[in-house]
C-alpha cells in the first residue's frame, strides 16, 4: 500500500480540488472526485490511475506551488500510480524492480541479450552467429524452433497472468465486483477513451508538454508508440499463423504481411519512443515524479532498442551480421516481455480499469 503520508497528502490535495472544481472540464479525474467527499487510499489509487498526467490542471491551478496550498495533482498521482504498479504485481521480489525502473530495465535487457547469445553459442557454436543465413526457416538455423518459441510463450503467458491478476485485485480493492466490470456501455466508452487518448487532448488544445504551452505532441507520439506496438503484435501473430497453420516459417519476403506490418510498426515505435524521450527530457520537472520518470525512460528505451534491433535485422538479414542480430533482437524481445508486468507497461491495465470504473460511475450519477 502507499505510505500513510502519501495517502494523507493526496487526500489533502483532493479536498482542496473538491472545494474548487475549476478543472472539472479537463479530464475524467475531477468529475470522479466530485462524487466523493472523503478520499480513502482506494479512492485515491483509483483517481490516480484515471489521471493521464496531461498536466493541464497543474498549470491552471491557482494553488500550485509557490502557493502555500501547494497543489500538484500530477505529481502526487504519479507517486500513487508508481505504488499501484508495485503493489499489484507479483511476485513481491520482482515488484521491487519498480523502485529502480531504469536500472532494472537495463540489467534485464543486458542479461536477456547475453542469455540468448550464450544459448546460440552453446547450441550452434560461434559460426552460427557470424554467418549469413538465408532461405526457408533460416531463423531456426540460428535459434532452434523449440528454443525460440517455448521460452517466449512462457514469458508472455506469465506476464499476462501477472497483469490480469493485478487488474482483478485492483478492481476489487477500488470497490467493485467482477460482474460489474462487464458493463457493455462502460467498456465501450472506456475503450474509445483509451484508443483515442481523449484525455490527452485537453479539451481540444492538447496537454502541457513540454511546458505550460499547449500541444498535441504527447498524444500523437503516444499514438505512434501504441499503434506501432499493436502493428508489431499483429505482425508476430500473422507470422505465427503462417508458420503453424500454413507451414511457412520466417523469414518472409519484403512485401509479405508480417514484414510490412512489422516494419511499419517498428518505424512508428522508433519515431514515437524517440519523440517521447525527447519530450520527457525537455519537460518541466515540477509536476513530474522521479520514480515514474525512471520507469517511463526504461520502458521507452527497451521498446526503442527492441524495434531498432528488429529493423536492423530486417535490413541486414542477408549478411553475415544476421545471426548475431537475430540473437540480440530476440534478447531484447525477451527483456521487453520480462519487464512488461513490472514497468510502465502496467499503466495500460490499471488505467483501462479506472476508465471503466469512471464510465460506470458517471452513467450512474
Amino acid at each position: 500500500m502507499p505510505s500513510a503520508e502519501l495517502v494523507q497528502e493526496a487526500a489533502r490535495q483532493m479536498v482542496i480540488c473538491n472545494a474548487c472544481r475549476y478543472c472539472e472540464g479537463y479530464c475524467a479525474v475531477f468529475p470522479a472526485m466530485e462524487l466523493r467527499r472523503a478520499f480513502s487510499a482506494q479512492d485515491l489509487s483509483y483517481l490516480a490511475n484515471l489521471c493521464f498526467d496531461c498536466r493541464d490542471c497543474y498549470y491552471a491551478c491557482q494553488y500550485a506551488p509557490p502557493h502555500e496550498f501547494a497543489v500538484n495533482v500530477p505529481r502526487v498521482f504519479a507517486e500513487l500510480r508508481a505504488d499501484t504498479y508495485r503493489d499489484y504485481s507479483w511476485p513481491r521480489l520482482l515488484a521491487g524492480l519498480y523502485r529502480r525502473g531504469g536500472l532494472a530495465g537495463g540489467v534485464i535487457s543486458a542479461v536477456s541479450v547475453a542469455a540468448v547469445l550464450l544459448l546460440v553459442l552453446v547450441l550452434g557454436g560461434p559460426g552460427v552467429l557470424l554467418s549469413a543465413h538465408v532461405g526457408q526457416a533460416a531463423f531456426y538455423r540460428v535459434v532452434p524452433y523449440a528454443a525460440m518459441v517455448l521460452p517466449a510463450l512462457a514469458i508472455a503467458l506469465f506476464g499476462l497472468a501477472v497483469l490480469l491478476a493485478g487488474a482483478i485485485r485492483f478492481w476489487r480493492d477500488t470497490g467493485g465486483s467482477l460482474r460489474e466490470m462487464l458493463d457493455g456501455r462502460a467498456l465501450l466508452r472506456a475503450t474509445a477513451d483509451a484508443f483515442t487518448l481523449r484525455y490527452l487532448a485537453g479539451g481540444g488544445a492538447g496537454c502541457n508538454y513540454p511546458d505550460e504551452g499547449f500541444s498535441q505532441s504527447r498524444r500523437w507520439l503516444h499514438h505512434l508508440v501504441f499503434y506501432g506496438f499493436l502493428l508489431d503484435l499483429a505482425a508476430t501473430t500473422v507470422a505465427a499463423a503462417y508458420d503453424h497453420l500454413l507451414g511457412r516459417p520466417a523469414p518472409y519476403p519484403l512485401l509479405s504481411a508480417p514484414v510490412v506490418l512489422g516494419t511499419l510498426g517498428g518505424v512508428m515505435l522508433v519515431a514515437g519512443t524517440v519523440g517521447l524521450l525527447v519530450l520527457k527530457r525537455r519537460s518541466d520537472p515540477a509536476p513530474a515524479e522521479r520514480r515514474m520518470v525512471a520507469m517511463d525512460v526504461a520502458f521507452l528505451l527497451v521498446l526503442l532498442l527492441t524495434s531498432l534491433t528488429g529493423l536492423l535485422l530486417l535490413a541486414l538479414r542477408e549478411t553475415g551480421a544476421m545471426g548475431a542480430l537475430l540473437a540480440i533482437h530476440l534478447g531484447m524481445v525477451a527483456a521487453l516481455f520480462v519487464t512488461l508486468p513490472y514497468g510502465k507497461f502496467a499503466h495500460l491495465v490499471y488505467r483501462y480499469a479506472a476508465l471503466i470504473r469512471g464510465a460506470i460511475e458517471q452513467a450512474r450519477a
Binding site: 472545494a19 467527499r37 506551488p65 481540444g204
Partner: protein
Amino acid sequence: MPDRFYDVVVVGGGNAALCAAITAQRGGADVLLLEAAPEALRGGNSRHTRDIRYMHDRAGAFVTGAYTAEEFWEDLQRVTGGETDEALARLTISESADLGDWMPAHGVRWQQPLKGTLHLARTNVFFLGGGKAMVNAYYDTARKQGVEILYEAEVQRLNVDDGVFRSAVVARGGASGEVRAKAVVVASGGFEANIPWLKEYWGEAADHFVIRGTPYNQGRLLKELLAHGARPVGNPREFHAVAVDARAPKFDGGIVTRLDSVPFGIVVNREASRFYDEGEDFWPKRYAIWGGLIARQPGQIAYSIVDARGAGRFMPSVFPPLQAGSLTDLAGLLGLDARALVATVEAFNRAVRPGSFDPSRLDDCRTEGLEPPKSHWALPVDQPPFWAYPLRPGITFTYLGVTVNRQAQVVLRDGRPAPNLFAAGEVMAGNILGRGYLAGFGLTIGTVFGRIAGREAARHAVG
C-alpha cells in the same frame, strides 16, 4: 530596467492589463507590461476567477439562453441601487457583446458551467480551467505578439505634470529605474490587500479581515493617481466581501475558503446570538452580503452551525467542520458561552414552523415570532452530530477608484481628461459597479475597459 522609450507602458498583470497590452500592441504600439508579482503568482485577482458575464442575443454552446443588453442593465441597476454611471455602464454592456468570440481568439477556452453554479449558466460563460488558465492564455498571446513583460516590477511612482504622464519609477530586484512612455495604462487593481489603508476606515477590525485575492493589490497606483489629481469614485470604506472560513490563509485563499453552509443552519456571533436572516434569499444572491455582515460583528467572527440534517447539503469546503455530539460540547470547541448557545438554538427551534423543505425554491420552512427571522429553509437544529465553521469577512475587492471617461482616460478633479493617462479594471470599476456585486462582472469591466484603454493609448502614442 530596459532603457527604451516605449509607446505604451501597462501597469498591472491581471485581466485588464493583459487586454490593454494585447490591444495596444495590435494597435501598432510598442508595449511594456509591468507585473509586480513573480511569474508564478502573476495575474492579480483574475487568477481566482472562473467566469465572465457578457451580453448575448441567443443561446450558444456554452450559455443556455439570451442575455440582452436591457436585462443586463436592469441587473446592474438593481445590485448597485443606481450607483453607476449609466453611459459607462451601457458602454460596458454593449462592448461585451463580442467577448464570446474575442476571448477564444486570444487563447481562452470555454467549458460548460461548473456544477453548483448552474444559476449562472445563461448569463455567464466559464473558462476551461478557471481564471489562471485564462491569464496564462493571455500572457502567451501577449508574449507571442511581442509585448515585453517584466515580472516583479513594482511601479512606485508616476511622474505626471498637470495631468500629462511622463514616466514611471519602477523598482525591480533591488534596483530602481525610470521607464518613459508616450502613454500609460494603469490596471493594477484596488487596495484590498493593503491592511493599513483598510484600517483608516475600519480600525483594528481590519486585522481580522481575510483577503481572498492576491497580496499584491496594495493600491499604490490608485493612491498615486488620486495624488496627481484624479477624481475619486466609489465609497472608500466599502468593499465586497463574502463569508470565508476563519482558518483561511490571510491572502490568496481564493474560491476554496468560501462557505455555502449558511442557509442550512444558523449563524451566531461571538456572543452566541443570531444576527441576520440566514434564509432571506437564495444563496447565490445572499452569498455576497455575509462578509459585510460579519465585518460588523464583535471581533469580526461568526459561526455557521448545522446539524446532521444540514450536513452534506452544500459544496464541500477546504477545512473540515468542527464537530461535536452536543451543542454544549460544540460551544466548548468554539469558545462560546455554552448556555447562551443552547438558549439561542432552543429559541430558534421553538420558532420553526413546519413546512416542506425544498432548497431549490423559496420554501415555506420559516420561523415565527423570532428576531431576526429565518424566512426559508428553517429546520430545527437538533440532530447530532453538530457541525460548526468559523467565519470571517473575506474581502474580494474595494470600490474606491478613479473616474474615467468613455476613452478610459482618467478624469481629473476639474473635469479635464488626462490626455495620456488611462485606467482599466478594478482601479476604475467603481464608475460602473459603485456598490453591490454581480458575478463575473468585474472581468467584464476589466476586459471592456482594458481593450478601450489599450486601443486609445495606442492611438495616442502612434496616431
